[in-house]
């Protein structure tokens, strides 16, 4: 851009350098023509000044510091049109200058990016300069405009959940947004920030361009949180600073999700002495989070020697039991000694890094030994009787 100005500047320089000669030459015609007059006026970018058939329009202030402005000068009902970058305090002749019926313009002062004070020299019969608003000024200005949006990736959030926040910044304007700085609310105590915080957005965004930043955090405390707005500050090409902000979001952090294991035991009825019984165990996760590393272990409280495992084991482990699901298993035991055995089943498991325990107790009864020897005792009298009969038989057998 600046290069263009320099070229234009060089082009402009040559006529200015030639101007004394041209002036000297035109001095000869002065006597025969009308005398010139000069007037000063201020105008803003987009404004024009009528001087006779000439029109002078301030296109823009190119640089306040360098004292450069761009003007367009044209003449009504003719082909004359001249675009020029002017340096302040330097006369510029348009359409051969005031001496020859044209204009000679000088920038006296540049107030700011909008406003300039200028002196025009022209044939006095052109009258007073009159201001008007140009076509250009009525056209919309080229400005950047940013839209900021902050979104969370889920709506159902419980304590301990990871939440991803996406900050999207879009330039919906028609000029480049510069020096973009996104300011998210200072870290909220309700969250623990994991990665991507604070969010960063490109420094510049072209019209239509958008950028996003994602950061993740973990909900820590239970309750309602009003996430404050995210503000984007940016500047336009003239370093004017603007800001845009996202609509605020409110989040409800529900209590933490927990696994909740429920042990259900279907113990066998009384087991005969030396008989077998099957214990069915159901481990159900009634919570809303998976239970991990589930270890079920059985402990026979009373003197447990009377129960012998036959098939399967009451001790069991599961890597994961998802919420709402259950695991079933069974173990067969043999009652080798009579008595009532209290068995404690303990399920220890992990839910979100926390160790939890559930236990349940049940009883297995092993019935008294059916005293088989009583039947043998019965045999004794039978044997005695048999022996007696046999003896009698022998006694009377000849």
């Amino acid at each position: 851009m600046r290069l263009i100005y320099l070229v234009v500047l060089a082009l402009l320089a040559s006529p200015i350098l030639l101007m004394p000669m041209a002036a000297a030459a035109s001095d000869d015609d002065d006597e025969e023509d009308d005398e010139t007059t000069s007037r000063e006026f201020s105008f803003r970018a987009g404004e024009g000044v009528k001087i006779g058939d000439y029109r002078v329009e301030l296109i823009s202030v190119v640089s306040v510091m360098d004292g450069l402005i761009e003007v367009k000068v044209w003449r009504r009902a003719s082909d004359f049109e001249d675009w020029r970058v002017m340096e302040d305090h330097r006369d510029a002749n348009f359409d051969e200058g005031a001496e020859r019926g044209g204009l000679t313009l000088t920038v006296i002062d540049i107030f700011d990016e909008e406003t300039v004070r200028m002196r025009a020299e022209y044939r006095s019969d052109y009258g007073y300069p009159q201001k008007y608003v140009t076509q250009r000024a009525m056209a919309p200005k080229n400005l950047p405009k940013l839209a900021v949006q902050a979104t969370v990736d889920k709506t159902d959030i419980s304590a301990g959940d990871e939440v991803k926040v996406t900050i999207t910044v879009t330039n919906t304007g028609n000029d480049t947004a510069r020096d973009i700085v996104v300011q998210d609310s200072p870290p909220l105590p309700q969250f623990r920030y994991l990665a991507g915080y604070p969010p960063k957005i490109k420094n510049q965004l072209q019209p239509g361009e958008s950028d996003l930043a994602v950061y993740s955090m973990v909900a820590v405390t239970v309750g309602d949180v009003n996430m404050p707005v995210t503000v984007a500050r940016y500047a336009d090409s003239k370093s004017t600073i603007y800001s845009a902000s996202s609509p605020s979001i409110s989040i409800e952090i529900k209590p933490k999700r927990m696994p909740n294991l429920v042990l259900k035991v279907d113990p066998p009825g009384p087991i005969k002495h030396g008989g077998e019984g099957t214990i069915n165990v159901t481990v159900e996760n009634k919570g809303d989070a998976s239970a991990y590393r589930v270890e079920v272990s059985a402990e026979v409280k009373s003197d447990g020697n009377g129960l012998e495992p036959v098939k399967g084991n009451l001790d069991k482990s599961f890597f994961e039991i998802p919420p709402g699901e259950s695991e079933m298993y069974s173990a067969t035991i043999k009652g080798s000694r009579s008595g009532s055995y209290a068995i404690n089943l303990v399920a220890s498991y992990q839910g979100d890094g926390e160790m939890m325990q559930k236990e349940t107790g049940f009883e297995v009864a092993v019935l008294e030994r059916e005293h088989k020897y009583l039947y043998y005792l019965l045999i004794v009298p039978v044997l005695i009787l048999g022996f007696w009969l046999f003896r009698r038989y022998k006694e009377y057998k000849y």
């Binding site: 009698r392 038989y393 022998k394 006694e395 009377y396």
Partner: protein
């Protein structure tokens, strides 16, 4: 307590002895020996002696050690001579078997009068008992045959009865198969019935001699009765099936022909008698008994009475000896006739054979 020896000799004697043993078990059931105990009123030793081992095997209620087989003999085939010889050959062994059983006050030797073994052994054994036991009372129980059983049986009965009389037993109790045959149709059941009757009475008798009686009869009384008349007699028995039966009619019932083991008219023929009445205390009226026994005495002569107090229906046993035995006389007559017939048949046969041989008398065998 009396020491009683009971010998059953020969098949008939063995079986009566077996009936005695059965009765001692309580009687009724065949299996009683497996669950019951023998109960004798006194110390009773029983011994069955036979020459035929099969007869001994047949016994059911006599213990094996109480069965004695006379070695090397297989019955004597109703031949009393062989029987006697068999006894002599084995006398010591037989007597030793008896003597092993200790001392005895009374011995009953039971046999058929008509068989070979029993009828020949019995007189000899009685003799031996008399020799070996000083104060023993020996009673022979002789079973007379069915008259139609044949001449040898009749002959044996006749001779054996004489032998018995000669060895001077303390008395003979007669049992007549012929007379008792009427009690049953077939011979087998008749034998069993007769044997049971004899067994029951003899055991009752022993009990009456060896129990605490209200009115005492003892061995001496019994001996006196048995020595009366011809030294032979029989037993009568009456068991009331109703408690209401009067004692008088019960006593009379025990000497009526229907209750006797040998046919006799007690009022006419009896020499001495002993009446034993058993019953519960309330059923026995001593006065009534005394009265009816006295009434009997006027007809018979000597009547001993014994009363045994024991629960149950009244039972009456009568023991008596006879002054005359017309039936036995008839048996002798029949026997004599049979012997004559036998002799005649033998002579005829001999003559026939001699005549037949006469044809070849002067001839020699020619080959």
């Amino acid at each position: 307590m009396l020491n009683v020896l009971m010998l059953g000799i020969g098949q008939c004697g063995n079986r009566i002895l077996d009936a005695v043993n059965k009765e001692s078990f309580g009687g009724s059931s065949k299996l009683s020996k497996y669950y019951s105990r023998q109960k004798f009123p006194s110390r009773v030793e029983t011994l069955a002696i036979n020459t035929a081992v099969n007869d001994l095997k047949e016994l059911k209620f006599t213990s094996a050690k109480d069965r004695f087989h006379v070695p090397n003999l297989h019955g004597v085939g109703a031949n009393r001579s062989i029987g006697k010889q068999g006894f002599w050959d084995n006398r010591d062994m037989i007597m030793e078997e008896i003597e092993r059983r200790g001392d005895f006050d009374i011995a009953f030797v039971m046999t058929s009068a008509s068989g070979g073994t029993g009828s020949s052994f019995t007189p000899l054994i009685i003799h031996e008992l008399r020799e070996r036991y000083k104060n023993i009372t020996v009673i022979a129980v002789m079973v007379l045959p069915f008259r139609e059983e044949g001449s040898i049986y009749l002959q044996n009965a006749a001779f054996s009865m004489r032998d018995i009389m000669e060895v001077e037993s303390d008395g003979i109790i007669l049992v007549d198969n012929q007379y008792l045959k009427r009690l049953s149709g077939d011979i087998k059941t008749a034998y069993d019935k007769i044997n049971d009757m004899v067994a029951e009475r003899i055991l009752f008798l022993i009990e009456s001699l060896d129990s605490e009686m209200l009115s005492v009869t003892d061995l001496g009384d019994f001996k006196t009765v048995m020595r009366g008349g011809l030294g032979m007699g029989t037993l009568g028995f009456y068991e009331s099936d109703k408690k209401t039966t009067s004692l008088t009619s019960a006593i009379e019932g025990s000497i009526k022909p229907g209750g006797l083991l040998y046919p006799a008219n007690v009022y006419e023929d009896a020499a001495r008698a002993m009446i034993i009445i058993q019953g519960s205390r309330e059923s026995l009226d001593v006065d009534e008994i005394t009265k009816s026994v006295e009434k009997l005495s006027t007809k018979i002569g000597q009547v001993f009475k014994g009363i045994i107090i024991k629960k149950g229906k009244p039972k009456i046993l009568s023991v008596f000896t006879l002054g005359q035995v017309p039936d036995l006389e008839m048996l002798y007559a029949q026997a004599a006739q049979a012997i004559q017939d036998e002799k005649g048949r033998k002579t005829r046969a001999k003559k026939q054979l001699d005549d037949a041989f006469a044809y070849i008398e002067d001839l020699e065998e020619i080959y």
